[in-house]
């Protein structure tokens, strides 16, 4: 791949992600403010971005300058790299790796670590508490998310995201892996720091937690990355369980975008009905419920893949 091709792909990925992030903000706005305020909802993300871009960046006193300044960029770069393995259509993929799913899940860790850096670098109590809560996220999501996602490659006999989608040509995995879908979607909210697992940001209690000291363009980058990783996790959910780009009549990328946004809307709407969980409750949920359930899911998927679908659905 030439340098120019790589550059164009990176630029397209960032533009696509930015459009997706805008749509996630619009979805959240519609859920919060209601449909009758749709005009304001469409304008708000742009107004907020413009407002933040006009603000000068002012690091807190005694901040760890390198960590403070680099954390938003680490988060954004991680999101951009993770987006490369999401297939929007047949052959429409930034990086068609044979271990695409593994690559994606590994990249979630630096994203969470970027959030921890953001909190730690502020040299303040709320930032440190936010950092520790982010660390609790890191050890909460990895195992259940990985175990829930593994059902799809077990059935498709491949870790390549494109092949996982192609293997669902006749039957989406959501039909016979419903437990895996539920576990995946719950665990996906952890690394995205979405409600009800947003303790690291924690509203008024931690005054914004890891984001408390950030303002201006860096805050915009961090918020972009948070929405971006959520969008990607929903997109990966579509790849793993909902047949990816596949659908009648419409072009594959349109189907893919539609399914991703629909899944994001459902998850956002359902998650709003649950109060914010405490970090220890989050850990209990992850290790006492999601991990055992994901092991059960692996066993069920293994039996079905081997005996019902003949070693690969």
């Amino acid at each position: 791949m030439s340098v120019m091709t790589a550059f164009v792909r990176a630029a397209l990925t960032l533009v696509g992600l930015t459009v997706g992030v805008y749509l996630i903000e619009v979805l959240e706005g519609l859920l919060t403010l209601g449909q009758r305020n749709w005009r304001a909802v469409l304008r708000l993300p742009l107004a907020r971005a413009g407002q933040l871009l006009r603000q000068p960046d002012r690091p807190p006193a005694h901040a760890d300058t390198f960590l403070y300044q680099s954390a938003p960029f680490i988060a954004v770069i991680t999101v951009g790299l993770a987006a490369l393995v999401i297939p929007l259509g047949p052959g429409l993929i930034g990086f068609d790796s044979s271990v695409g799913l593994f690559y994606f899940i590994v990249l979630l860790s630096p994203f969470v670590i970027a959030q921890m850096n953001a909190g730690w670098s502020q040299n303040g109590v709320v930032g440190v508490l936010g950092t520790f809560r982010a660390a609790a996220h890191l050890i909460s999501y990895e195992v259940p998310l990985g175990f829930a996602a593994i059902g799809a490659p077990m059935a498709a006999a491949s870790l390549a995201t494109g092949k996982i989608v192609a293997a669902q040509a006749h039957l989406w995995y959501v039909v016979w892996q419903p437990l895996g879908v539920v576990i995946y979607l719950v665990a996906a909210l952890f690394p995205a720091f979405r409600h009800p697992f947003d303790g690291a940001y924690a509203g008024s209690e931690l005054e914004g937690g890891v984001l408390a000291a950030y303002g201006g363009a860096r805050l915009l980058l961090l918020r972009w990355a948070l929405d971006g990783i959520f969008l990607l996790l929903m997109a990966l959910g579509v790849v793993l369980f909902f047949g990816g780009w596949q659908g009648p009549l419409l072009p594959p990328p349109v189907w893919f975008a539609f399914k991703t946004l629909a899944l994001a809307a459902v998850v956002l709407a359902l998650s709003r009905r649950v109060p914010r969980l405490r970090h220890d409750q989050m850990l209990s949920l992850a290790w006492k419920i999601l991990v055992p359930a994901s092991l059960v899911n692996i066993a069920i998927v293994g039996v079905l893949a081997l005996f019902v679908f003949g070693g690969g659905a």
Partner: protein, 460 residues
Amino acid sequence: MGAHDLAALAGQQPLVMLVAAPRHADCLLVYEPLNAAFAPAAAELARGLPEGAPVILYRPPDLPALTDETPGATVFPHARRITACTAAALQAAYAQGRSDALPVAAAFPSLRADLVDLPQEHELATEFTVFSLGPAQPFTAGPARFWLICDGEQVVQCRPVMGYAARGIAGQMHGMAWAAAAELAAWYDPLAPVASRLAFVQAVEHLQGITPNAASQGIREQALAVERAHNALWWSVRFLRLLALEPLARRAAQLAMALDAVLAGWTPEPIAAWLAPQRPAPVTTPPDLASLARAVRDLAATVRRDRWLHLRTVGIGQINGAILHSAGVTGSALTASTSGAGDIQARLVARLTMAATTLTALAELAAAPQTTPTVAGRQKDQQADWYVPAGTATGAVAGPRGTLAVDVTSDGGIHPAHVAWHAPSAALLSLVPALLAGQKVADAEMILASLDLVTAEVDG
């Protein structure tokens, strides 16, 4: 009043929302009065704003001048002032553009760094974190600071610091004429002006040896009941938002605003005009609140049945009814412990149930025949009598947070000789250190919010 206004503001307009950190705000709304203790904290908050973000001042129009007040304009000389606390006024003030001047007066001192002594047995420990909740925070109505000494996320000790909302109301009443003192009494609990004023008026009537007739007393009780329901609903909005249960918070806000709309034209004259000694209440027809009462009851049932809320809050902030009783706590907080589990969810359910019951009772009253209210045979148009014989009497009413009482001493002169208030929030506040010790930081805010503390009541 500020707490309800802010809760309403955030739900009125999509462009107005509350943020947790000053760095994330587009403007700072300062709700006066400020006192000498809180002004430095408010100034520090303004210094944390992004550059160009304006400070906007609001002072309730009927708030009398207070002796212990620090004028907002001296702290924020370039602040914009709004005359109504509405989203439109706020937006208009914000739309004047960036504020290039420094938000705080140059001569105004920086906030002194508070040093907190660790508990003696832990003074050599290095792993403790001292964490300040407040003083500007959303979980009490009005400013208060709670120092949390934490071992990780575990609260080892809590030290409340009050005084940020002190206005010297009782002291100021001593030197005022009786009628002016009654005006000021209404500001004792700004969220419950009817309860505050009625307690004072009752004490005065006791000194005068007067008892209002049943109809007049009934209308006073209705006004009190409405205030209790109103407070419970707006408190639910604030509390549910803190729990991050946005759909339920939005429903509660709709009901609170519906109650505001129904009550807008309830009495032909403002309550302050007829809530005076020996002044009969006006003839009113209670508003039709039947459908609103049903909706509030449904909301209470939804909260009671919410399994997620139960799992999140079960056993958190639990207080034994006997402890509450011995501390002198009354009202819904006590009901939640005597009739329920006494935890966060129980307090929420108890307050919503109280609001629903109150509204149902008012709706039933609407159907009953009305009688003419009199006080000691006096008719509606007669003026209040402010001659108060010497003596001491207590007025006590069932306010939104429990029994609000005031002791009034008269020497037969033109102003009260002594006034002492007994606030329900003060009784609850005394339990906070024991309640928070051993809890998690993530729960501290919820527990405090569930108690519905009004700092103005405590500070006076």
